[in-house]
Structure formats: structure tokens, C-alpha cells
């Protein structure tokens, strides 16, 4: 069993290659000058620069949070490059650098439309700090859907951005959200107009390439009244032995009767077997649901040295609803503190939380969740189910739910279990000629199935693969 455990902790990181292309940097460090430079490089309007500077001044007064069940290394914010962009080849300004295209190809993203046709997804690929290509834009535009990089949205749809930016995650919300608001580089912007059903899954793919750079992605999704959309996000990063910072902010606005589905497969570099390097994934994701709206979060977290992430929903409108489905896998010396917050404000609001944690190796995996029933949440309902699976005796699995109710007609239910893969299950499968590794794969697959089944199809395939790679031969 020990040998096999060693395999888990040493399973190679497939996406760990570095793309060698020329990049443009802003000098290391963080001060108002750097923020002004970023803003100028992106030719941003004055209001956005003011927003950044305001956030920066708030951030300077905030202490870094320490409440997570995490051993967070000291981060030197002056030792980070806050902006890196692939240099455009002057001769071919409209084309994607072939080297870059190959990187995305290796990652399996269908960047060219003809390739994308096979998968029928629209991809907004973000390479370090700028969005390099957005496919399918035209066919979406016919329906009035805007899907572009955040910087482009600032230029072309400034009013929409200005109206909704920081309306769900205010600039001073928390330490990392404030940092992001000050230095955010790029991300995706989606707007689906009234009553429109987005005809395909929208997808963004983030990748951290440059050494010593942080990625500060900012995504804003707006679903107007009665609109429907599904958004997918995937992440990888090359292998490096230093920690890289990823502090993203995602805001989702679901107006009356809108329906939004947000799926993530996160596979950032987790660090090596001794816990050196890896991505520090410190992310704020939050959505607001107006009357009758629905927001569904699905996440599969297999990467990052540290994950600090709580996709949350504010159920503001009456009869709005939200779901959170999560599979978090930690191996080696990874640490994850992840979960959700459901804030019930409106009458008859509904939420459901299903969280499946799997810890192996020397990792620590925590679920942290808040369910809050405000005085106005008449007849609101929540159900939470959090399960943890332990593989090996050196890992930890923790559950920290927080339930607060201020309404006698609201009902909140939470249950959690912790267990390991039982000898009986393995024996049963072994008896039928199934090798221990396959047996573990089957059991873990079954355990995570409820969540994986919520993913858009092509993501589900990738997620299944990731699960089996991460846990390859995890028990004897």
C-alpha cells in the first residue's frame, strides 16, 4: 500500500511545460505607479483607474486573512510581476502567435473555429494577463450575446461594465478581492440579453505561463431577465518551484428568472511531492440571484498548492434558487479550504450544497460553508451534504459548516460524513477480478458521480480523467 501511495504523490503533472515566447512585463512590485501603468497599457477610462486606485488604498489597510485551515506561506507582494502580456508580432497583429497556438493545442483547447466546431464551444483563452482569442464571437453577436475579454468590454461596453462591476464583490470585500480590484489584468465578460438562451456553452481557459507573475483574472457575467447560459472555466499552469499567486474575482448577476450555470475544472500546478512550488489559488466568486433566478456552481478542484475558494450566492429575489456541487481532490502536500456561502434574503429561496472531498498523501482538505437565513427568508430551504473520503493515514479531512437562522419558517439541514474506502468494498471488487487500482477508480468515480454528472459533457470527460490521474493507484 505504501508503494502505491508513493505513486499518488509522485504522479507527474502533465500540463507542466513552459511556452517560450516573448512577453511584455510591467516592473516587479506593487504601488500606485504600477497600477497607473497597467491601466495606461490597457488604455482604460479614468473611472476604472479611480476604481483600481480606490481598491489599492483599501487593500493597503487590510490584513491578510488567517482564518482558513491552511498553512499559507508569507507572500511578498512586492516580489510579483503584476502584468505580463505576450508580445504581439507587429507583422501579424490579427493572428495568434503560432507558439501560443501550439500551447493551447497541447492543452487541448479548440482555438480555431473549425476545431471548435467539433466541440461546439466558444472559447475565451486567457494567456497570463491578456485574452488572446475569442472564438465564435460573431455567431453569438447575432443573438445579441456579448462574449469578449474584459478589457475589450471596458472599451466597447463601458456602461454595462461600469454598472455591474463590483456590484456583487465590492472592491473592499476581502483582502484578495481588493488586491484583484487594484491590479486585475484580464478575464471574460459575458452579457446575455433578455429572454435569450445562449446556444452553446461558453468557455474560458486560464493559464499562468510567465515565471514570477501573478494572474489576476476578473470575470463578469450578466444574464438579463429570462436569459439562460452555461459558462465553463478550466485552469492549468506550468511547473515551477516557486509559488505563483492567482487571485481572481468572478461576479455573476442573474436578473429576474435568469438561469446561469458556472462550471470549473481547476488543475493548476499543485507543487512537487515535498510541497515546493505550486499555485496559490485565492479566489472570490460570488453571484446574485434576483427574483426567480437560478445559479448553479459546479467545481472540480484537483490542482493548486493551496486552494482558498468559496463560490457563493446571494439569494436576494423571492423564489430564487442556487446549487453548489463540488469535488475537491488533494494529494501530495496540497491544501484546500473550499466550500460555499448561501445567503437567503428573499421569500421561498432554495439552496442545495453537495460537497465531496477526497484527501490522499499528506494533504489537508477542508469544507467550509455558511448557510444564512435572513429574517425575510420566509419558507426558505437549504440542504447540505458534505462527504469526505480519506485515502492513507497521513492526510486530513475537515468540515466547518456554519448555520445561522433568523426565520422560524426557514429550514436548514446539514449532514456530513467522513470515511475511508472500506476493505469490504475493495474485497468485493477484488473477488470479481478487478485490480485494486481500478477498484479505487470505480469507488471514487461512484463517490463523485453526483457532482460529475452536473458538469457539461466535455468537461465531465476531462474531470473523470483528472480524478483517475490524481489518485492513480491510491490504495492497496
Amino acid at each position: 500500500m505504501d508503494d502505491i501511495l508513493k505513486d499518488v504523490t509522485s504522479a507527474a503533472y502533465k500540463e507542466g511545460f513552459v511556452t517560450d515566447i516573448r512577453q511584455e512585463f510591467v516592473p516587479k512590485g506593487l504601488n500606485e505607479e504600477v497600477i497607473r501603468t497597467i491601466s495606461a497599457l490597457k488604455r482604460e477610462p479614468q473611472w476604472l483607474l479611480d476604481f483600481r486606485l480606490d481598491a489599492f488604498r483599501r487593500w493597503q489597510k487590510m490584513p491578510a486573512p488567517s482564518w482558513g485551515h491552511l498553512d499559507l506561506p508569507e507572500i511578498d507582494y512586492q516580489d510579483i510581476i503584476y502584468y505580463a502580456a505576450p508580445k504581439k508580432d507587429a507583422d501579424r497583429p490579427k493572428e495568434i502567435d503560432p507558439e501560443l497556438a501550439r500551447t493551447f493545442e497541447k492543452l487541448g483547447i479548440p482555438l480555431h473555429e473549425r476545431e471548435a466546431l467539433a466541440g461546439v464551444v466558444a472559447v475565451d483563452a486567457v494567456f497570463d494577463s491578456v485574452s488572446v482569442a475569442t472564438t465564435f464571437r460573431k455567431s453569438l453577436a447575432e443573438k445579441g450575446i456579448i462574449f469578449c475579454s474584459f478589457s475589450e468590454a471596458v472599451r466597447e461596453h463601458g456602461d454595462l461594465v461600469r454598472k455591474y462591476l463590483a456590484s456583487v464583490v465590492p472592491a473592499g470585500d476581502n483582502f484578495f478581492a481588493a488586491l484583484n480590484s487594484a491590479v486585475f489584468s484580464d478575464g471574460s465578460f459575458v452579457y446575455v440579453p433578455k429572454g435569450v438562451r445562449c446556444p452553446m456553452d461558453l468557455s474560458s481557459y486560464f493559464r499562468i505561463n510567465a515565471a514570477g507573475t501573478g494572474q489576476f483574472e476578473r470575470t463578469l457575467i450578466i444574464a438579463d431577465e429570462g436569459a439562460t447560459l452555461s459558462y465553463m472555466e478550466g485552469c492549468t499552469a506550468p511547473m515551477r518551484d516557486e509559488n505563483q499567486l492567482h487571485a481572481a474575482v468572478v461576479e455573476i448577476i442573474a436578473l429576474k428568472d435568469a438561469d446561469v450555470k458556472y462550471s470549473t475544472v481547476q488543475n493548476w500546478y499543485p507543487g512537487d511531492a515535498e510541497g515546493r512550488g505550486g499555485i496559490l489559488n485565492l479566489v472570490t466568486k460570488r453571484g446574485i440571484c434576483h427574483e426567480g433566478a437560478h445559479l448553479s456552481w459546479t467545481q472540480v478542484e484537483t490542482g493548486s498548492a493551496i486552494t482558498w475558494k468559496y463560490p457563493s450566492t446571494i439569494l436576494k429575489g423571492d423564489e430564487s434558487s442556487s446549487e453548489f456541487y463540488s469535488v475537491a481532490v488533494t494529494a501530495r502536500r496540497q491544501q484546500a479550504d473550499t466550500g460555499t456561502k448561501m445567503i437567503h434574503i428573499g421569500r421561498g429561496t432554495r439552496s442545495r450544497i453537495v460537497s465531496k472531498g477526497i484527501s490522499a498523501g499528506h494533504s489537508q482538505n477542508s469544507y467550509r460553508g455558511l448557510v444564512r437565513m435572513m429574517p425575510g427568508a420566509v419558507g426558505a430551504r437549504n440542504f447540505s451534504q458534505c462527504d469526505s473520503l480519506l485515502i492513507g493515514s497521513r492526510c486530513g479531512a475537515h468540515t466547518f459548516p456554519d448555520i445561522r437562522s433568523a426565520n422560524p419558517t426557514a429550514v436548514v439541514e446539514h449532514e456530513a460524513t467522513t470515511s475511508k474506502i472500506s476493505e469490504d468494498q475493495l474485497f468485493y471488487l477484488g473477488q470479481r477480478g478487478i485490480a485494486p487500482e481500478d477498484a479505487v477508480g470505480l469507488i471514487v468515480g461512484g463517490y463523485a458521480r453526483e457532482v460529475l454528472s452536473k458538469l457539461p459533457m466535455e468537461f465531465a470527460v476531462e474531470a473523470q480523467k483528472l480524478l483517475s490521474v490524481t489518485l492513480e493507484g491510491s490504495i492497496g
Partner: protein
């Protein structure tokens, strides 16, 4: 500490050694604001702990439970059940942590906290936590905050049971698992006066 049964103990720290068993019962009746802090260390193999708590609030009481159940040795079992009813402007909070140390294999630890809110202004918070550092364990917790079941009450009323009596029966049955038999009458009186 030997084999023992203690009723409504004060704040305390308990150590339960190999093969020993500890039972604690907490009863908080209307009008009492209490802050109960209990830490139990299971230090020897085969130790067993059973905690039960009941709380009834009808005015502006504040009831707090801080329970830490620390499994430090292998093969121990612990079970916690806390049920309470809050009316008026009462504020009840339960915070309970189960910690299973790295070598405390074959641990079985269960924890439940159930709350019923009877009034608009009553508040309930529940924070059951699991911190587990061993793999061969069976641990679970459950927490709920809710109201009395309307359908059950309707069923009783259809059969001629007055509304008030139906409500009393519902609360008594909700609390029955954590009511010590010797204090059952006292609890029933309190429920009737809620």
C-alpha cells in the same frame, strides 16, 4: 474519572482513559441563560463518551454550547446529541468540534444538533466541526434548524387533538432522545408553559 453519569455539570475538562465511559447530560430550562464549555479528551483505547443536551428558551435567554471532543487514542467512541427549542427573542448557539488525532484509528464519532425556532425573533446558530487526521474512522455530524412539522400537527388536529396539545406533543417527541428520564416531568411542565 471512572464509569460515571453526571447531570448538568459546570464548565469542565474531562479525561476519559482506556476502557472508561463518560456520560454527561445537560438540561437548560426556560429562563436560564447558560454558557457551557466542555472539553473531553479520550486518552486511552476503548474509551466511550455520550453527551446529551436539551435546551428550552422562551424569552430573551442566551444559550451557548462549546464542545470539544478530542479523540487522542485508537478505538474510542463518542456520541453527541443536542436538541433545543427557541422562542421569544432567544439566541442559541452550538459550536462543537470533533478532533481525531493522527493515530486515533478505528474512531467512531457522531454529533448531532437540532434546533426548532418558534418565533420571528428567535435566532439559532450551529457550527458542528470535524477535524480528522486519521483515515480509518467513521465520523459524521448533522445539524438542522427548522420549524415544527405542519403536516404532523394537521394529522393530530384531524384526530381531535387540540392545537396546543399537538404542539406540546411535537416538542416533547423532538426532545425525547435527549431528555433524562428522571427529569422528564420537569421538562414536560416547561414545554407546556412555553
Amino acid at each position: 474519572m471512572g464509569h460515571g453519569k453526571y447531570i448538568a455539570p459546570p464548565k469542565g475538562q474531562y479525561q476519559v482513559g482506556a476502557g472508561q465511559r463518560l456520560e454527561l447530560q445537560f438540561v437548560v430550562l426556560p429562563g436560564e441563560s447558560r454558557d457551557i464549555e466542555v472539553t473531553v479528551d479520550l486518552t486511552g483505547p476503548g474509551a466511550e463518551v455520550d453527551l446529551r443536551g436539551l435546551y428550552l428558551c422562551h424569552a430573551d435567554e442566551q444559550v451557548r454550547f462549546h464542545i470539544v471532543m478530542h479523540h487522542m487514542a485508537p478505538g474510542c467512541r463518542s456520541r453527541q446529541r443536542f436538541c433545543g427549542v427557541a422562542g421569544g427573542r432567544a439566541d442559541v448557539r452550538f459550536e462543537g468540534t470533533i478532533v481525531v488525532a493522527p493515530d486515533a484509528q478505528q474512531t467512531e464519532a457522531y454529533q448531532e444538533n437540532h434546533n426548532i425556532l418558534l418565533s420571528e425573533e428567535a435566532r439559532a446558530e450551529s457550527r458542528p466541526q470535524l477535524e480528522i487526521y486519521a483515515d480509518d474512522v467513521k465520523c459524521s455530524h448533522g445539524a438542522t434548524v427548522g420549524r415544527l412539522d405542519e403536516e404532523a400537527r394537521f394529522y393530530m388536529r384531524c384526530r381531535g387533538i387540540p392545537d396546543r396539545e399537538a404542539r406540546t406533543l411535537q416538542i416533547l417527541s423532538f426532545l425525547s432522545a435527549v431528555t433524562p428520564p428522571e427529569r422528564a416531568e420537569e421538562v414536560e411542565r416547561a414545554v407546556r408553559n412555553l
